[in-house]
Amino acid sequence: MITVYHYMILSAIIFSIGTFGVLTRKNAIVIFMCIELMLNAVNLTFIALSRHLQNMDGQIFVFFVMTVAAAEAAVGLALMIAFYRNRESIDTDDFNMLKW
């Protein structure tokens, strides 16, 4: 029998993989995709718990997460374009303007 724990463990694994990607990759777009991965892992938890609790609220939340993800995608990618225009690169090693 598949319980909510299975889904949650899966979501944890996917989330960790996303974290791994964010921490190791240098390409901003790939990092961005890894963040989407993490968001999706969270979504899975939401839906699994929503199902478990027989409650719709979690799914509504997923909906909002998706909205935010969409907005993020729009703005984030626009930022990347703007950045690429300046630096001819989207390698995060070149994003060090925050340095002291």
């Binding site: 724990y5 240098k26 390409n27 790939v30 609220d57 509504i60 997923v62 907005a71």
Partner: protein, 167 residues
């Protein structure tokens, strides 16, 4: 039957998620990501959430992925130059494994509690998932819904402003 489906798609999604991080070319990553999204959509269906599955495919696998791929094309990003990032690999890998362990413990030791509702598989079947979502969204969550729409509007304007050539 359901457990087989779950394990199958779980394994596929883990595998493809790993390849998202591993592929050298961003386009490959994007395609692996689409695979993950689709697996997730299937998992949503196993969770009696067909509408979320549809949205998953449409928004993620459709809109967002198109956007990403489009940007990759636009910027003409090639395959990443092979660099040895062992340092980052070790640290990042270590940290994510630690994180996994920690969350595992967290999940194993906790019992999910919360307001238990009355939506069972039967209600979903009789009313339809879409209707239930719609009811919730346009009654209790109307204000957040409107705010979300404003957020999207802002994001659109922001994206336009940011990507315009001369600001």
């Amino acid at each position: 039957m359901l457990s087989i489906l779950f394990y199958l798609f779980a394994v596929v999604s883990i595998f493809s998620a790993f390849y998202v991080t591993k592929s050298r070319s961003p386009v490959n990553s994007a395609l692996w990501l689409v695979t993950t999204f689709i697996c997730f959509a299937v998992l949503y269906i196993t969770l009696d959430a067909p509408f979320m599955a549809a949205i998953q495919i449409m928004v993620y696998a459709g809109a967002i992925m198109v956007l990403i791929v489009f940007v990759i094309m636009l910027l003409n990003l090639g395959t990443a130059v092979k660099k040895r990032y062992t340092h980052a690999l070790v640290w990042g890998g270590g940290m994510s494994i630690l994180m996994l362990i920690v969350t595992n413990f967290f999940i194993r030791r906790s019992i999910p509690t919360g307001t238990v509702g009355d939506i069972t598989t039967q209600t979903i079947k009789s009313y339809g998932h879409t209707e239930l979502i719609g009811r919730a969204m346009f009654t209790d969550f109307l204000l957040p819904f409107e705010i979300a729409s404003i957020l999207l509007l802002v994001a659109i304007i922001g994206a336009v402003v940011l990507s315009k050539r001369e600001v």
